[in-house]
């Protein structure tokens, strides 16, 4: 789409307005987190008291701990299931039931959460009636719900990466007699490692942020961070929540910046390595050595 020309003024204006719309609420949230006044929106001087009271709030701290545990556990499971699913969707073509499979993969991404939450809860209730397990709702039920939600996103990311990359490496390994499992672990997996990493991060954020599904699947004693935030925010503005939001935005911001930087530099390195390999291959083969330089240097 880029045609070498700088952006016209109108499009620059569009971007400016768009980003203002996206960022004004977030920035205002951060500014007013330093408000000394208990009335969140009436400025009463600079203060960090809400940060102090946030750290001393045991309810919030234990909710954060639980949320992080659930997020790590469900992102891990989602990455395993989602990578397999993405691989199946990208490489296996059609098989019996593939339409249903692909449909079940995309639907959780858009399905209203009140529906998925209710339906999964009723599943666990029925399981309890028939098998006696899970005996109570809490960590396990929330984990299963988040995993289902997140694996769809991982599958999409992994799948689109697999469609992008050249099959020739996998085919070459196949021709050299490698077994499918070995190819998958030694070639396919490293090629999509970046997609898996972004799928993992995406899953973490989705899980940390989920309110509706979690509320359905949660039980006594299992209160996640969004559930605490929601119960407070429902009653009106709360300065501690402003402080929490500011911390969240800061952490996510740093994180995204670092991740983006690492990804870009990895991409650049790969490009450079590829260019170097190409040059070596193009160079005339040294006398007495039929193969290209790149192959000759291999052990």
């Amino acid at each position: 789409m880029y045609n070498g020309n700088p952006l016209p003024k109108t499009l620059k204006g569009v971007l400016l307005l768009g980003f203002l719309f996206l960022y004004v609420p977030i920035v205002s949230l951060i500014i007013y987190s330093f408000n000394a006044s208990k009335l969140v929106t009436v400025w009463g001087g600079f203060s960090t008291r809400w940060y102090v009271s946030l750290i001393q709030n045991d309810q919030i701290i234990s909710a954060v701990t639980l949320s992080i545990k659930i997020a790590l556990a469900s992102a891990t499971a989602a990455v395993v299931l989602g990578t397999i699913a993405g691989f199946v969707l990208a490489r296996f073509g059609r098989f019996r039931g593939s339409t249903l499979f692909a449909g079940m993969m995309t639907a959780p991404m858009v399905m209203p959460e009140v529906i998925t939450g209710l339906s999964m809860l009723l599943l666990f209730i029925s399981m309890q009636q028939f098998f006696g397990q899970p005996s109570e709702r809490g960590f396990f039920t929330i984990w299963a719900g988040h995993t289902t939600l997140c694996m769809a996103y991982v599958a999409v990311v992994v799948r689109s990466r697999l469609i992008e990359i050249d099959k020739s490496l996998e085919e070459a390994a196949m021709d050299l007699g490698a077994r499918p499992m070995k190819i998958f672990f030694l070639i396919t997996l490293p090629l999509v490692s970046q997609a898996i990493a972004s799928g993992f991060l995406l899953s973490i954020t989705l899980s940390l942020d989920d309110l509706v599904t979690t509320s359905f699947l949660s039980g006594p004693g299992a209160t996640t961070l969004p559930m605490v935030i929601f119960s407070k925010v429902r009653l009106g503005l709360n300065p501690e929540i402003n402080a929490l939001a500011a911390i969240t935005v800061l952490l996510v911001g740093i994180f995204v910046l670092v991740a983006n930087y690492l990804m870009l530099s990895a991409q650049r390195n790969r490009m450079r390595a590829m260019a170097a390999a190409m040059r070596e291959n193009d160079a005339p083969a040294p006398p007495g050595n039929g193969a290209g330089g790149a192959v000759a240097t291999a052990p």
Binding site: M1, Y2, N3, L7, L11, V14, L15, F21, L22, I26, L29, V40, T41, V42, I84, A85, F87, R91, F92, G97, L100, F101, A102, M104, M105, T106, A107, M109, V110, M111, P112, V114, I115, T116, L118, S119, M120, L122, L123, T147, T148, M151, I163, K167, E170, M174, P180, T205, D209, L211, S215, P226, F230, V233, I241, A245, T248, V252, G253, V256
Partner: protein, 304 residues
């Protein structure tokens, strides 16, 4: 060549497929069937709070099937429920249109930008998406309230003498819905626009087409898949949205997600919540199928 890969995979293929397949069957498909089943049950003072559909009577050796249709009859004869469905679809539709109108120019501008800064721009769109949805909705509560930041600012500048009513009404509902769902529209649109072949646009330009005509006859049709995928990505979850109407919508805002939540958590009427969910799924099957189709096309890189 591809076939030979598949052939080699064959023995283990079934096992590989079955892992995610079984997971989705158990945790995604079967739950819907259970919702359908319980929508035909009756509310009961028990744990769990609904009646069984099948009862085996040992003495009489009969199997009694009790299908309770009253939930559905109630929904279809009660005007409030019908109005709520219509209004949810309406809110979702207008939210989608607004996101499209605002998101398209932004996606277009990012796609047109120099690749060197494109990543930064895209990251700026993604950043709010990575921060908490709940907190982004909360941010608007502070801005829009009668004694909120916007009103305080306008009044201190003397532009208004009375606070504007922007909170707990249709305005705040739509504003925050658009705000929350905008990134979901921009990303698929961008993904399509950025791949578009510039030479087509240049050719149209060389042949004397005006910019608007080029846009209307080339750019827009070629981004059709992105438009449909993005629109469905906004429309479908918006129909069942709960958090936004609950936090910033007014008492007169009828949204079906809120009704379902209240039936379940406040009235403890699980069968009714299930019936509400069942009908919502029926409304959403076609949009979900559309989304699936265009999402797949986009992934496979087909543009037609």
């Amino acid at each position: 060549m591809l076939r030979s890969i598949l052939e080699r995979f064959k023995p283990g293929k079934g096992a590989v497929i079955s892992v995610p397949y079984l997971w989705l069957l158990v945790f995604f498909l079967v739950p819907f069937l259970i919702v359908l089943k319980i929508s035909f049950a009756d509310q009961d003072l028990a744990i769990p709070p609904f009646t069984h559909l099948l009862k085996y009577d040992g003495d009489m050796s009969t199997l009694n099937i009790a299908l309770n249709l009253s939930n559905f009859l109630f929904i279809f004869t009660n005007e409030l429920y019908l109005d709520t469905y219509v209004s949810s679809l309406e809110v979702a539709l207008f939210t989608t249109l607004a996101c499209l109108l605002i998101g398209y120019p932004i996606a277009y501008a990012i796609a047109r930008a120099n690749p060197a800064i494109r990543n930064v721009l895209l990251m700026l769109v993604m950043l709010p998406f990575w921060t908490s949805f709940l907190l982004r909705v909360y941010a608007w509560m502070g801005l829009l309230q009668p004694n909120g930041i916007i009103n305080n600012l306008l009044m201190s500048m003397g532009l208004i003498s009375q606070p504007l009513e922007m909170f707990h009404n249709q305005f705040s509902l739509y504003l925050v819905m658009v705000y929350a769902y905008l990134p979901f529209m921009i990303l698929p649109l961008y993904a399509h626009l950025v791949k578009m072949d510039v030479t087509l646009l240049e050719a149209a330009n060389d042949l004397g087409a005006r910019p608007f005509k080029t846009f209307w006859t080339i750019t827009l049709p070629l981004s059709k898949n992105g438009i449909i995928a993005g629109s469905m990505m906004v429309f479908i979850p918006a129909v069942g949205e709960f958090v936004i109407p609950e936090l910033v919508g007014g008492p007169d805002v009828l949204m079906i997600g809120k009704v379902l939540w209240n039936e379940f958590f406040d009235n403890n009427n699980w069968p009714m919540a299930s019936a509400v969910a069942t009908i919502m799924v029926l409304f959403l099957i076609v949009p979900i199928a559309l989304f699936h189709r265009y999402e797949t096309r986009q992934l496979e890189g087909k543009n037609v």
